[in-house]
Amino acid sequence: MEQILATTLRSAAPLVLVATAGVFAFRAGIFHLGLEGLMITGAFTTVAVGEATGSVELGILAAIGVCMALSAVYWWVIGPLGANVIIAGLGLTSVGLGGTAFALGAIFDRRGSMFTDVVLPRPVSGTTSGPGVIVSEHSILVWITPLIVLAAWIVLRRSRFGLRMTAAGEYPFAARTAGVNPSIVRLQALLIAGGLCALGGAELSVGALHNFTENMTNGRGFIAFVAVIFGAWHPIGAAFAGLFFGFADAIGIQSQINITERVPREFVLMIPFVLTIFAVWLGGLWRRRSLEAEAGYAELREPDY
């Protein structure tokens, strides 16, 4: 049980960080499918700069910088240049996945993966039994993640800045009448999201592991995206959704090991997906999304033709 919880926390941390990023983007009205690309970029940059400078802090700072720069490009493309949010987002993901793998070869002359000694500290380590296991072997980022979620909640739900951001996403006209430039607010949201994705990627490469591997995010950006919707665009909701997916992962791992008489594996693997559908359906029954929210959402997703 302790192990399941520990695994849950570790698997969830990068998801929660990236889902929080997604919440910022969503609140500002951007259906952000580039999370995965930013995440892998963060993972790579941390390792690359960490290796080059020998400092994990510098690595993370650089990752945040690079991801913010990429986010700014994304904003420029979907905002001033008017590109389709979804396609450009998927493009950003490919750019991240391809670009990091390419850079690994071009800069370090490596293929596939790269190790580093420069890793995040682990406040508690070496506990092997008892409840202590739950908190053992987590990088400092896992510990900080709840604080980040809390901060995100305050910023989004309890500050004027958050009000402006939500208004810009939900009803740009309202934002404009309040003297807010929705486009700038979106840029701000994307920059914050970029920074958070960088942290999510860094947790993966130098928090949980000490290497960068091509494609190592392995769809986590998309799962985080799902968590955002699952969590109804709320920072706390998305964090719990991220935890849920982390938990599903942990259960998946444990069930592989503990269920001996096997149902076909594929059916076990389907469980989290089926559960998600079920949960989303149930959640929808409890609280029908408002027409307006829906309309805003539809507008987001609705391309011109």
Partner: protein
């Protein structure tokens, strides 16, 4: 030290093709391979069943391509094959092309493209590409095809080299069974596909020959590129009472090895590249680079003979190799057991060779 106590049963070595072997210098750092994959330290390359000396053609003309169905960067077979391809470039002056074709529906197009471009020799990897190469090869008789880890013998311009990796994991299972103290051995695979399932079953079956009460635990990462998941799987297995894990999941292995280091467990891997880690007892190895190099030579030679050749445990193409570092620096009691078990492994190997030991191939979990 490249010497290997569980050495192969002396297939004909082909010194001509052996790459300059550099003994890996044990580095002080305990981190696993931070350096680029070192050339295979194994002095005996894979046996090429058709032991023909290569006769390099005039350079410049020759084009050789390798199409892999998995991504490079696994510190394993694909990386080794790429190294073999680079050896081909050096030794034959060939113009080389490496292609990753991870989507099965692109196999045929890619092969046809290559042949259309007049590529002289095309090597493809692993069983999933069999249908494609068998379909394409007859249409391009000018091209010579090599299927590494394939089983089709009936095509005029195709050499298929078959392995029985599961027999190798069987040998690993004997070692794991001998070392096991907890009654449980583990296995981490990339995706639960038939060949990996068979590897796992052979591994457990062998462990059970040492102690019938040993049980096996298999876990799959559902990705060959997810070290983070590998780490969690490994940790869960070790926490669940497993002490030795056989891992078979390409880049995902990196996470399993990390878990072993953190949890004090042990790993038998699939690549010599992992041998820097103190948690790696050994590996079930194939001599991919040498094999590719030799097969290209064969394809260029005058007595080129297409068809199927086995290159498995019986032929010495697949073998369990103990990590020399581990023998040198590992816990004394484990080293002792390993040394004591080697003879038994040798026995099993020769029984496999003469057919008296039938390792079951069971692709179901």
């Amino acid at each position: 030290g490249g010497d290997d106590d569980g050495g192969t049963a002396a297939p004909e070595p082909e010194p001509a093709e052996t790459p300059a072997t550099t003994a890996p210098e044990p580095e002080g750092a305990e981190t696993p391979t931070t350096a680029a994959p070192e050339p295979e330290p194994e002095p005996e390359p894979a046996e090429t069943p058709t032991a023909a000396a290569p006769e390099p053609e005039p350079a410049g003309e020759l084009t050789v391509a390798l199409v892999a169905n998995q991504r490079a960067g696994d510190l394993g077979p694909i990386d080794d094959l790429v190294r073999g391809l680079e050896m081909v470039e050096q030794d034959y002056g060939a113009d080389i092309t490496f292609i990753e074709a991870t989507d099965p529906s692109t196999f045929e197009t890619t092969l046809r493209n290559l042949a259309n471009q007049g590529t002289d020799i095309v090597a493809v990897t692993f069983p999933p590409m069999q249908d494609a190469v068998v379909a394409v090869a007859p249409d391009f008789p000018e091209t010579r095809w090599i299927h590494i880890f394939g089983f089709e013998g009936g095509v005029d311009n195709l050499v298929s080299i078959g392995f029985d990796y599961y027999k190798g994991t069987y040998l690993a299972g004997i070692l794991a069974g001998a070392l096991n103290t907890t009654g449980k051995v583990g296995f981490v695979g990339g995706v639960s596909i038939p060949p990996l399932n068979a590897d796992y079953n052979a591994f457990v079956a062998a462990a059970q020959t040492k102690d019938p009460n040993i049980t096996g635990e298999a876990a799959f990462a559902d990705s060959f590129e997810d070290p983070a998941k590998g780490r969690e799987l490994g940790a869960a297995l070790y926490d669940g009472g497993v002490d030795i894990i056989m891992t078979d999941a390409a880049a995902t292995d990196l996470g399993v090895i990390q878990a072993a280091e953190e949890k004090g467990g042990y790993v038998i891997g699939g690549s010599v590249n992992y041998f820097d880690s103190s948690a790696v007892i050994g590996g079930v190895l194939l001599y991919w680079a040498e094999l590719l190099h030799a097969q290209v030579g064969h394809a260029l030679s005058d007595d080129y003979t297409p068809g199927y050749v086995g290159a498995g445990v019986a032929e010495g193409g697949v073998d369990l190799v103990v990590n020399p570092e581990f023998l040198a620096n590992g816990p004394a009691e484990m080293v002792e057991i390993i040394n004591a078990t080697l003879a038994e492994i040798d026995d099993a190997r020769s029984q496999i060779k003469d057919g008296s030991l039938e390792v079951p191939f069971d692709p179901e979990l």
